[in-house]
C-alpha cells in the first residue's frame, strides 16, 4: 500500500515539475501587431450546429484570411459568469470580443463601457441607445449584429405554403420573448399568408419554460412537431436551437417537409437532410467576419449593424420543387431586398 502511495506521489511531483514546460506559447495580444478575437457563447456549446457555431466560423474565417492572428472561444456554463468570461478576453488585451446571443446584451454593453479600447460585436443584440437623445449612453465600440429574421421567415413561409398539399403548415419555435425568434415565427406566418391567406398556419412558441431550457429541449420540439403532423400538417419549420432541431428531425423522420433555421441545416443536421426543403438563413458567418474586418480596418460601426437573411438551397429535394416555385422564391427574395415587399412584422412583439 505504502509503495503504491509513494509511487503516486512521485508521479504527481514529476507532473508538477513538467507543468511550466508545457504551458502553451500564446501570441501576445497586447502587441499592436497582433490582432486577437475572442468569442463568448451564451449558456450553450460552441458546436451547437447553429448559432454559436456559425458565429465561430466567422471568427475562424477571420483567422484563415489573415485578418486575425489569434482566435479563441469560451463557453459559458452559468449566466453569472458572462462578465467574468468577457473580462477574461479583455484582460488578455484582445482587440475584438464577440458575444453570442441576446442574453449577453447587458453584460456586453457594460463591458464595452469599461473597456473602450476593445471592439464588441453583440450577435442578436439589438440596442436602443442609437435612438434616444441621450448621447451619454452611446458606445463607439459596440456593434449589435442583427438580422431581418422576419424576411427569412417570410421566405420559408411562402415556400412552405407553396409546397404544402394539405394546406396546413406548422412552425415549432423557441420562446417568443426573444425578438429574433418571434420575428422568424411571425415572418413565417406572413409569408404563408402572402401566398395564400387560406393556408392554415400553426406557430407554437416554447415560452412555457425558462431561457435555460427553451432552446435545448429537442424532445419537446419533436413531440410538438409530431402532434402537428398528426393533425395533417405537412411542412414543419423549426426555429430555436436544439428545440427546433428536434422538430426538424422529427418531421424528416415522418417523411414530411422540414425547414431549418439560422444556417443551412442540410450541412449540420444529416439525419434530417433527405427531407430538408430549405433553411431560413441568417448569414451569421459573413456578418461576423465583416464586422471583425471593419474593426481591423479602423472603421468599426457603432449601434445596430444589419446582416443579411436568405433561404438555403433545396439540395436533395431540388427535383421535387417545381420550377414556378423556384421562380416565385427568387421574386420574393428580390422584393424583400429592394423593399417592394414588406413582412409587416414589427422588430419587437407588441406588449
Amino acid at each position: 500500500m505504502l509503495k503504491k502511495l509513494y509511487l503516486v506521489l512521485a508521479l504527481v511531483m514529476v507532473a508538477a515539475l513538467l507543468l511550466p514546460a508545457c504551458a502553451p506559447a500564446a501570441p501576445d495580444c497586447a502587441s499592436a501587431d497582433v490582432f486577437c478575437v475572442g468569442l463568448v457563447t451564451d449558456v450553450g456549446k460552441i458546436d451547437d450546429k447553429s448559432f454559436n457555431q456559425s458565429t465561430w466560423e466567422g471568427v475562424q474565417q477571420a483567422k484563415e484570411e489573415g485578418v486575425a492572428d489569434q482566435v479563441q472561444y469560451i463557453e459559458t456554463t452559468d449566466a453569472k459568469d458572462y462578465d467574468k468570461n468577457i473580462a477574461t478576453f479583455a484582460d488578455a488585451n484582445y482587440d475584438v470580443i464577440v458575444t453570442v446571443g441576446f442574453a449577453l446584451g447587458e453584460a456586453s454593453n457594460a463591458a464595452a463601457a469599461k473597456y473602450p479600447e476593445v471592439d464588441f460585436i453583440g450577435v442578436d443584440q439589438f440596442v436602443e441607445w442609437p435612438f434616444d437623445d441621450d448621447a451619454s449612453n452611446d458606445l463607439a465600440n459596440f456593434a449589435g449584429l442583427n438580422f431581418p429574421e422576419d424576411n427569412a421567415g417570410f421566405l420559408v413561409g411562402a415556400l412552405a405554403a407553396m409546397m404544402s398539399e394539405s394546406g396546413k403548415i406548422g412552425s415549432v419555435c423557441g420562446t417568443d420573448a426573444v425578438p429574433p425568434v418571434w420575428r422568424f415565427g411571425e415572418g413565417y406566418r406572413a409569408g404563408a399568408a402572402y401566398i395564400d391567406p387560406a393556408v392554415e398556419v400553426t406557430v407554437v412558441y416554447h415560452s412555457d419554460v425558462g431561457f435555460d431550457k427553451t432552446f435545448t429541449d429537442p424532445e419537446w420540439g419533436a413531440a410538438t412537431a409530431n402532434s402537428m403532423i398528426d393533425k395533417g400538417v405537412d411542412v414543419i419549420f423549426g426555429a430555436g436551437g436544439k428545440t427546433g432541431n428536434g422538430a426538424v428531425t422529427a418531421a424528416a423522420q415522418r417523411g414530411v417537409y422540414a425547414i431549418g433555421v439560422d444556417t443551412d441545416q442540410y450541412l449540420t443536421l444529416p439525419e434530417a437532410a433527405p427531407r430538408l426543403l430549405s433553411s431560413a438563413m441568417k448569414l451569421l458567418t459573413p456578418g461576423t467576419f465583416d464586422l471583425i474586418k471593419l474593426s481591423k480596418e479602423g472603421s468599426f460601426p457603432s449601434g445596430n449593424y444589419y446582416g443579411s437573411a436568405g433561404y438555403a438551397p433545396f439540395h436533395d429535394l431540388e427535383n421535387e420543387v417545381p420550377a414556378e416555385v423556384k421562380t416565385k422564391m427568387e421574386e420574393i427574395n428580390a422584393g424583400l431586398l429592394d423593399g417592394s415587399i414588406t413582412t409587416g412584422v414589427p422588430p419587437v412583439k407588441p406588449e
Binding site: 500500500m1 503504491k4 503516486v8 472561444y73 453569472k80 477574461t88 415560452s207
Partner: protein
C-alpha cells in the same frame, strides 16, 4: 475534526504520521480526487489535449490570482450552503434531492422581498434590517418547501427521494412562471425572464473593492461552523444523528422521530434556500432563469465528497468551486471543452460513492466507520 480517533496514542516518527494519515477520514476523498484527475487527464490526452497545460490553466484560473480566488469564493458561497443542506439531511438519514428546487424558491422569494418590500412599505429600510429580511424570506421559503416531503415521510411513509424530486419540478416550474409573469422585470426593452433588481439596502456588501467576493462567503463559513455545533453540541443535533443512524433505537430512547424527520428536512431546506438567497443578495442582485442551474445537484456530490461533515463540505465546496471557476481559464488557454470539469466531478463522485474501488486500487483496509447515508425503502 471530531471524527479522528484521538483515543489512539499517536505513534512517533514518520511512519506514525503516515499511519495516522492513512487512517484519517480524508484519505479516501483525497485519493478519489487524485484518481479522478488522473483518469480525467487520460481523457484529455485522448481527445488530443495536453493534460498538464489543462490542469495548469485550471489551477491558475481557480487559485492563481486575487481575482481568481475571489471568483472561486463567489462560486463556493452557494455551494457551501447547498452542500451543508444535503449533508445535514444525510446525517438525519434522509436524502434531499430537492435542494435544487428549494434553492430556486429561496432565490425568488428573497428577490421579491429585496425589490418589492421598500415600495410596499413606502420607506427606505436600513440595510441591516432589509438584508436580514431578504435572506430570512429566502430561507423560510426553502425550509417550508422542504418540510413538506419531511412531513410526508414522517406521517405517511412517502419516500423523500421521490417526493423531493417531484417537488423540484413543481418549484422550478413555479419559479419559471413567476419570472415570466407576475415578478417579471417590466423595464422597457427587457425580454429576459428575471425579477427587477433588488434595492441597494438589500445587498450584501462586497469585501474588496473591484472584486466580486462578498460577505456571504464569510457567512457561509460561519454557518458551516454553526451546522457542526448544532449537530454535535446540541440535543437537537444528537436527536437528528440518532434518528439517522437508527430510528427504532431513537424511538426506544424517547426521541420524537416524526418531529425530528420534519425538522431535519426543514433545516436542510433552510440551508438550500439560503444558497439561493445569498446569490441574490450578494452577487446577482436579482433572480433570473439562467442563474444557479444545477447547484442543488452539485451539492449532492459536495456533501458526499465532504463525507457529510461540515468541514468536509466546506473543503469539497471550495474544490468544486475552483474547478467550475478555473474551467474558464482552462478553456481560454487550451481550448479543452469545459465539459471535462463535469466529467472529473462525476468521476470524483463515483470514486467517493463506490469507495471500494479506491480501497482496492490503493489496498486500504476498512478501518473507519462507514457513513450511513440513507435507509432503504422500508425505513
Amino acid at each position: 475534526m471530531p471524527e479522528i480517533d484521538t483515543k489512539q496514542a499517536p505513534q512517533s516518527g514518520l511512519s506514525g504520521i503516515i499511519k495516522e494519515a492513512i487512517n484519517s477520514p480524508l484519505l479516501v476523498p483525497l485519493l478519489a480526487i487524485l484518481t479522478a484527475m488522473v483518469v480525467g487527464g487520460v481523457i484529455i490526452a485522448m481527445v488530443g489535449g495536453n493534460p498538464f497545460a489543462a490542469y495548469l490553466g485550471l489551477a491558475q484560473g481557480a487559485f492563481g490570482s486575487f481575482k481568481a480566488l475571489s471568483e472561486t469564493a463567489v462560486w463556493a458561497s452557494p455551494y457551501i450552503f447547498a452542500g451543508l443542506a444535503v449533508a445535514l439531511a444525510f446525517k438525519g438519514g434522509l436524502f434531499n434531492i430537492g435542494a435544487e428546487g428549494q434553492l430556486a424558491l429561496g432565490a425568488v422569494t428573497s428577490a421579491w422581498v429585496g425589490y418589492a418590500l421598500p415600495d410596499m412599505l413606502g420607506i427606505t429600510l436600513p440595510p441591516i434590517l432589509h438584508i436580514s429580511l431578504t435572506i430570512g424570506a429566502g430561507i423560510l421559503a426553502g425550509a417550508l418547501w422542504a418540510a413538506i416531503p419531511g412531513a410526508l415521510k414522517a406521517y405517511t411513509g412517502g419516500h423523500e427521494v421521490i417526493n423531493t424530486i417531484m417537488m423540484n419540478y413543481i418549484a422550478l416550474n413555479m419559479v419559471s412562471f413567476l419570472l415570466n409573469g407576475p415578478m417579471k422585470d417590466r423595464t422597457p426593452g427587457n425580454v429576459i425572464a428575471r425579477t427587477p433588481e433588488i434595492a441597494e439596502s438589500a445587498r450584501i456588501p462586497i469585501i474588496f473593492e473591484g472584486l466580486r467576493v462578498h460577505w456571504g462567503f464569510v457567512l457561509a463559513l460561519f454557518i458551516a461552523f454553526l451546522a457542526w455545533w448544532l449537530l454535535w453540541k446540541t440535543t437537537v443535533g444528537f436527536e437528528i444523528r440518532t434518528v439517522g443512524m437508527n430510528p427504532d433505537a431513537a424511538k426506544y430512547a424517547g426521541i420524537n422521530v416524526k418531529r425530528t424527520i420534519v425538522l431535519t428536512m426543514a433545516l436542510s431546506g433552510l440551508l438550500a434556500g439560503m444558497a439561493g438567497a445569498i446569490e441574490v443578495t450578494g452577487l446577482n442582485y436579482r433572480h433570473e432563469l439562467g442563474f444557479s442551474i444545477g447547484y442543488g445537484f452539485d451539492a449532492i456530490a459536495i456533501a458526499l465528497l465532504g463525507k457529510t461533515h461540515p468541514l468536509g463540505v466546506v473543503l469539497a465546496a471550495i474544490l468544486f468551486a475552483g474547478m467550475r471557476n478555473g474551467g474558464t481559464r482552462m478553456q481560454f488557454l487550451t481550448q479543452i471543452p469545459v465539459d471535462i470539469i463535469s466529467v472529473i466531478q462525476a468521476l470524483i463522485l463515483l470514486f467517493v460513492a463506490a469507495d471500494a474501488i479506491i480501497r482496492y486500487i490503493y489496498r486500504i483496509k476498512v478501518e473507519e466507520e462507514r457513513v450511513t447515508l440513507t435507509r432503504g425503502w422500508g425505513g
